[in-house]
Amino acid sequence: MTLERDTAVVGIGATDYTRRGASYPQTPIELACKAIIAAAEDAGIDVRDVDGFAYYSGGFDTGLFAQTLGLKEIGFSASLTGGGNGAAGSVGLASAAVKDRQAKYVVSLMTLQQTPDSRLGAAFAAKSGPYSRAPTAEGDFVAPYGSVAPGHFFSMMFKRHMHLYGTTRDAMAEVCISQRENALNRPKAIRKDPITLDDYYAARMISDPLCLFDYTMESDGAVAVITTSADRAKDLRHPPAYVAGWAAGGDGRWGKGMSWMGMDDDLFPTAGAGQVAKQLYERTGIGPSDIDVALLYDHFSPMVLLQIEDYGFCPKGEVGAFVADGNIRFKGGSIPVNTHGGNLSEAYIIGMTHVMEGVEQVRGTAINQVDDCALALVTGGPSAMPLSGLLLSR
């Protein structure tokens, strides 16, 4: 193993999570600043010492943060491209900025407020309104077919997996049921009613084979984390969560992924993360059996299953049997997955809750603490480039 220990996440902070729109009349910048202030307090630094921002999913207005929080100077401000794919990678970007001495304390964050005028899950075909998205020449090959929302693409991805490998809806149900169980004892989780297998099969079908439970929720909130050098980390409040390795990329043949769907048959029924897993494992010398907890981006339950295969926790095509054996359960699983409830059950802050949970797990302070947790995998995505993965170590 060649796990790096040059940089570490030293502060984590979050607002409460609410259902869509309920964070109003707070403003998005207010939510974000509350999370940043909380992360600085958690780290034990003055928030005015924050001097860098490493974003994903379009990023935010660094100048407005500086103006609002009275920051002294900015040394770094950049974003990974794409959307939620970059959640884990944004911390890698922060780590790179710190290692290159562009900045000392770099914030990665997500803030989300979905008012009636601004909601996620943009539809390609809506000409106006809360779900509208700018039309493109490429979109003309998608939208006229009523293929207008991410769930439509993910349904077809998983349908192919079901066809090739005999995977059933039971596998998706296990993701939904196990993550809901993990959310039950979490004070901030939005969804806290247990789900049974009967509940799962009784749920409304949205885009067959995906039912209501297979979709994440629409929620509001903000999460921020602060990355700094290992030297500075030593003097701060909590044990460092070292950035042991990260990767943000993808297989060129993945292309536009779900909004293209022309991938070869070896790539199509995957989460597109195989190349990122390979990069991460080659750079660090670790393998899936070294990982103690996996925080896998879960906007849709099947993408958890496909990432389990992409990251090598089980052989390709075998995830149905793997999860049926209880392997992803917090209690007794060989690789506990989304111990915080994830996007599906805790809150959908576009993957930043996964980073926070990874930090808590290697600190040893998680609510659903995995015993002797030394190494946490956090992922962003799928599907836009670059997909990202992050390893945090104690």
Binding site: G121, A123, A125, A126, K127, Y131, P135, T136, A137, E138, G139, D140, F141, V142, A143, P144, Y145, G146, S147, V148, A149, G151, H152, S155, M156, M157, K159, R160, H163, R204, M205, I206, S207, D208, P209, L210, M261, G262, F268
Partner: protein, 144 residues
Amino acid sequence: MSARPRGAPSADLAVLHPDSWTIHFWEAAKDHRLTSAHCDNCGAFRMPPTPFCPKCLSQETSWPTLSGDGTVYSFTIIRHAVIPQLAESVPYVLAMVDLDDAPGARVFTNIVECDPETVFVGQPVRVVWDDTSDEVTIPRFTPR
């Protein structure tokens, strides 16, 4: 204009924004002719049309008339309308179809003129033309 195929989603969605590469596909569709971008240098097909062949980087492109036969690669039966324009369209079948005589070209489409519950992966299908307006024609597919 002929009657629209049964099971095709709302014509409101059939609004096109072609660029200088995709226009060839849509002009052929208007003539009820299914085509795909075809590289004249190496013979590879690609969809949707892009300015370069990803295999050989040639820009030499032709637009052959295809048979219209395809095979269902994957599909979903959409039962919930995510936008108001689709409220009258559900349930409908969204599918990826591989074009049989254009290897490498896979298109989004709908499987129409059939019971959605009978659609399956690997199903042989053929193109049907949906004239959604005087200006726009959308290719969809039906079991053959």
